[in-house]
């Protein structure tokens, strides 16, 4: 079952429809409900390797649906600590729980200050309304 539309207040958002859940010097990254809904049910997630580095505003992986293949943009820079194997095995988890079990990677932040440039939930909702 696909989730209902939501943008949790505690997350930070990137304009390319990605979110970050920041906890200390680590963060979970994923794609927003809007991104998952636009793509439709995901059939594949091509993850980065654990230990590799991701750079803010650049692609760190790919998600694929029946409609399209799309780059996943990193909202923050860091080193990949863990890839969510549940999403690799069952990509539809992202559609079901985009902010819960549908997270994609856990990273250690290399520049926590970058988070200041991200949007809060209200600003992200405004961005969606303007598109």
């Amino acid at each position: 079952m696909a989730a209902a539309e939501s943008y949790p207040e505690e997350l930070r958002y990137h304009e390319e429809h990605d979110w970050a859940r920041i906890e200390g010097d680590e963060a979970l990254l994923g794609i927003t409900w809007f991104a998952a809904d636009s793509l439709g049910e995901l059939v594949h997630f091509e993850p980065p390797e654990a230990g590799s580095s991701v750079t803010k505003d650049q692609s760190y992986g790919e998600v694929e649906s029946v409609k399209a293949v799309s780059d996943v943009i990193a909202p923050l820079s860091g080193e990949v600590l863990e890839v969510n194997r549940q999403v690799v095995d069952a990509p539809e988890t992202v559609n079901e729980e985009p902010y819960g079990n549908g997270w994609l990677v856990r990273i250690r932040l290399t520049d926590p200050g970058e988070a200041d440039a991200l949007l809060d939930a209200g600003a992200y909702r405004q961005l969606l309304a303007s598109q």
Partner: protein, 500 residues
């Protein structure tokens, strides 16, 4: 409909051979004999013929109905093409035939090259690439060879591509070993020239542009774009996917492009619905001719035509022999059928598309409100927001009305995209019937959205589970373990409603 395996009955045969009790047994060594018989379907000949004839009636093609699949240029393939391609002198020619026994074929290829050079406004042509995507890769290898010869191979690493491009463009860039520089589209559907200016410099090898774009819009700033790339010493590559819009009207060479690939199977008609055969010739400016694939088809000074392998700077061969020859015959026939009126082909394609657009633009969103070229992109954004009906639902419902759906969800920059390309071959009555169906579907979305969401209702199969088909494809018969298919409509195919 049952699979051929499900119709199988042990012992049935499609043909009977005379009894051979008197003949000696063949001496096949024990280790070469099968221990079990192959598991093949066993049906009599008439059952076999009926099975495949029935399957063929489930097919939908240009020969059975309107097929406005945007970007694919599904124009009608005239039967004369097939008659000419089947002439024994063409069809039975061996690719290794001596030149003097293949003069007619060589002349046809040489003449086709001359025509393509004229249509694109360029100097030299290689017919070898087998499809548009291979034409793209060939073109980029020519770019690389050109800059390598100038000692700029290391310096120029980037290829610029707009965000409306076909997916093959970035794929070709990567395969050719280049780095991708994406550029945005502006509010009128042109390349965002301000974004472009900051991205083109001495590290840029080339631009790859489809013009008119996949939005069906001719780039209004093409002269400014040419100045930017020319000023940076970079080359310009024209993706000829949409050449059907401009033949005899404008020429890529005159717009400043140095390399063009032509999709023969689109612009110049082929029976291309089944994924082939394709043809992707490449036309180039004179400075790039030395690098073209070998063999080149040449007219010899002493008379006659031949294959020239003596091109020391060539990038080599990109395909076996001289290219997909049957495709050349059909496209040559199509072009000669239009003759000096080739321009009318493109004019009719553009007129048809604008007629359909004018009738539909009130009922669907039009992201870029301009005159279109040979195709246009609508959006079902409002239908989705107000009635929950997506572009996919519209496409599925169109099948109930007896039409092949347009391309959907491409280009990616348009949400809920519906990309319609009627081509020049369709009559006004057909276009009107299609428009009537599209308008009826927009009304149904408001009044009875379930009709769309559960469509198609009147086809041999209902809505397919595309996700399951991707994740767990069944591509062979599983005998005892074969999954039972669900959701198939009753075997009776009801008549599709006509346009209202």
């Amino acid at each position: 409909m049952k699979l051929i395996y499900e119709k199988s009955q042990a012992g049935r045969r499609a043909s009977a051979v005379p009894r051979h009790d008197e003949l000696p047994r063949p001496e096949v060594p024990e280790e070469l004999r099968r221990s079990e018989l192959p598991r093949l379907p066993e049906v009599p000949e008439f059952e076999l013929v009926r099975h495949f004839t029935e399957l063929s009636t489930r097919n939908f093609g240009v020969d059975t109905g309107f097929y406005p699949l945007g970007s694919c240029t599904m124009k009608y393939n005239p039967r004369i093409n097939e008659r000419l391609a089947a002439l024994p002198g063409f069809a039975r020619l061996h690719p290794l035939q001596e030149e003097d026994g293949a003069q007619g074929a060589l002349e046809l290829m040489w003449r086709l090259q001359e025509i393509l050079a004229e249509v694109t406004g360029l100097d030299a042509v290689s017919l070898q690439p087998a499809a548009g995507s291979q034409g793209e890769l060939t073109g980029l290898l020519l770019v690389r060879a050109y800059f390598a010869a100038r000692g700029e191979a290391e310096q120029r690493r980037k290829v610029v591509i707009p965000d409306t491009a076909h997916g093959t463009n970035p794929a070709s860039v990567t395969m050719a070993g280049y780095e991708l520089t994406p550029v945005r589209t502006d509010a009128r559907g042109n390349i965002d020239v301000d974004d472009l200016r900051g991205k083109v410099d001495e590290h840029t090898a080339a631009l790859m542009l489809t013009n008119p774009s996949t939005l069906g819009l001719f780039d209004e700033n093409i002269e400014e774009i040419e100045r930017i790339f020319n000023g940076a010493g970079a080359l310009m590559y024209y993706d000829g996917a949409n050449l059907n819009a401009v033949c005899g009207i404008s020429r890529p060479g005159d717009m400043g492009f140095d390399i063009v690939h032509i999709n023969l199977h689109k612009t110049f008609s082929q029976p291309h619905g089944g994924g082939g055969p394709g043809g992707g010739p490449v036309a180039v400016r004179g400075i790039l001719e030395p690098f073209l694939p070998v063999p080149a088809i040449v007219r010899r000074e002493e008379g006659g035509f031949g294959l020239d392998f003596d091109r020391p700077q060539t990038i080599g061969k990109v395909r076996g022999f001289a290219g997909p020859f049957g495709v050349f015959v059909r496209s040559y026939a199509y072009i000669r059928m239009w003759g000096p009126r080739l321009r009318e082909m493109s004019e009719a394609a553009v007129l048809n598309a604008n007629y359909v657009l004018a009738r539909l633009k009130g009922a669907y969103d039009l992201p870029f409100d301009r005159l279109c070229t040979h195709e246009f992109v609508l959006s079902a954004k409002t239908l989705k927001r107000e009635h929950g009906c997506t572009a996919l639902d519209v496409a599925k419902r169109l099948m109930d009305y007896g039409f092949h759906p347009p391309t959907i969800y491409f280009p990616l920059i348009v949400p809920e995209a519906l990309m319609v390309e009627p081509t020049e071959t369709e009559a006004k009555e057909t276009l009107d019937a299609f428009c009537d169906a599209m308008l009826a579907i927009a009304r149904e979305a408001a009044e009875e959205p379930e009709l769309l969401k559960e469509a198609p209702h009147h086809r041999p199969v209902r809505r397919l589970d595309e996700v399951r088909a991707v994740k767990r494809p069944v591509v062979k018969y599983g005998f005892g373990e074969h999954p039972v298919t669900k959701g198939e409509a009753k075997a009776v195919v009801t008549e599709a409603p006509q346009g209202v």
